[in-house]
């Protein structure tokens, strides 16, 4: 049987409040230089993830490495 709309709305409200609270806790931890209490679970698997204090050159190098993993689309070329 389909769930009542009121129940779905309440569920969404609860989830939204939870997400905003987690985001605020992460933001506070980031400001204070502490580890994030609610890290993105995918970050541990991402080889391109950089620390928060990475330099511009580190970002540029990371992008170059990323491009090797995911090169841009190259259109086919012909000469006529």
């Amino acid at each position: 049987m389909a769930r009542p709309w009121a129940e779905i709305d309440e569920d969404w409200k609860r989830k939204e409040e939870r997400a905003l609270a987690q985001r605020a806790a992460n933001a506070a931890a980031a400001r204070e230089g502490r580890p994030l209490p609610y890290p993105n679970p995918w970050d541990a698997l991402d080889p391109t993830k950089l620390p928060r204090d990475a330099t511009s050159e580190t970002y540029r190098q990371s992008f170059r490495e990323f491009r090797k993993l995911c090169p841009p689309f190259q259109p086919k070329r012909y000469t006529i």
């Binding site: 689309f73 259109p75 086919k76 012909y78 006529i80």
Partner: protein, 259 residues
């Protein structure tokens, strides 16, 4: 496309080089479609196709920018696209006719068509690179528009994409790349089975289990399916059993595969 009642002399793509270079230098995103696009692919097949005008495909926003830019660069705007009418603007440069379209039956949106366009370098025109719509897109467009006069163009495009399908089997090593053109051809033609001639050629170049699995489900005749089985029977018993199972689920009627 174009104003059939004012047919000018037949043109080659190079005749529009000056206009195309202007578009390139000013950064307009577009793709050539229509007869000149077919002509480019025909050249690669060693054939010649001429068309009176040039059709370019672009987003509405790009067209609006182009129409503002054109008069200051020696390009006459003959007619702007009208609401509730065919979405095309007619331009003129000297005696060259250019049609700028923002939609066409069977053609995907301009963003997609311009992003998937292929680059043709015009060797006789200072290495000018011209984006030409993908041949599968062009074929889908021609098939959807269904004009008698497009039949020769459809034949050329069909032949080109079949050659591309065979070349993929000959040259590509990655499974997806080997099958991609043949898959796209099936989708473009909205069919489940390969044209018989193409199926014959792909069978000759089939080399991997992925190739055989693809073909056993898509060759049009029982004779071709039997030929595939004969090729792998002694080489790979496990694959042969798998393909035999797939074959059992297919039906042939009068030599033709049903769906």
């Amino acid at each position: 496309m174009g104003q059939d009642q004012d047919l000018g002399p037949p043109r080659e793509l190079g005749d529009f080089a000056g206009f195309l270079r202007q578009l390139e230098e000013h950064g307009f995103e577009f793709a050539v479609i229509g007869g000149q696009a077919v002509a480019a692919y025909a050249r690669l097949l060693g054939e010649k196709v001429l068309s009176v005008d040039l059709d370019i495909y672009l987003t509405q926003k790009t067209l609006a920018e182009l129409l503002r830019w054109a008069p200051r660069h020696g390009i006459r705007v003959v007619k702007r696209p009208q609401p509730r009418n065919i979405p095309v603007a007619f331009l003129e440069v000297e005696d060259l006719e250019i049609n700028a379209l923002t939609s066409s039956h069977g053609l995907r949106d301009p963003e997609t068509v311009t992003q998937t366009a292929r680059n043709f370098r015009l060797a006789d025109h200072g290495d000018l690179e011209v984006p030409i719509a993908d041949p599968f897109e062009l074929l889908a467009n021609k098939l959807a528009v269904q004009r008698e006069k497009d039949l020769p163009h459809i034949e050329i495009l069909h032949r080109f994409v079949e050659e591309e399908s065979v070349a993929a089997f000959q040259e590509e090593s990655r499974p997806r790349a080997r099958l991609a053109p043949a898959r796209r051809l099936l989708g473009t033609l909205s069919v489940n089975v390969l044209p018989p001639g193409l199926a014959d050629r792909l069978i000759e170049f089939a080399a991997t289990p992925v190739d055989y699995r693809f073909l056993i489900g898509r060759v049009p005749t029982r004779e071709q399916a039997v030929r595939i089985m004969a090729r792998i029977q002694e080489r790979d018993e496990e694959l042969a059993r798998e393909l035999a199972w797939i074959l059992e689920t297919r039906r042939f009627e009068g030599g033709e595969l049903l769906g």
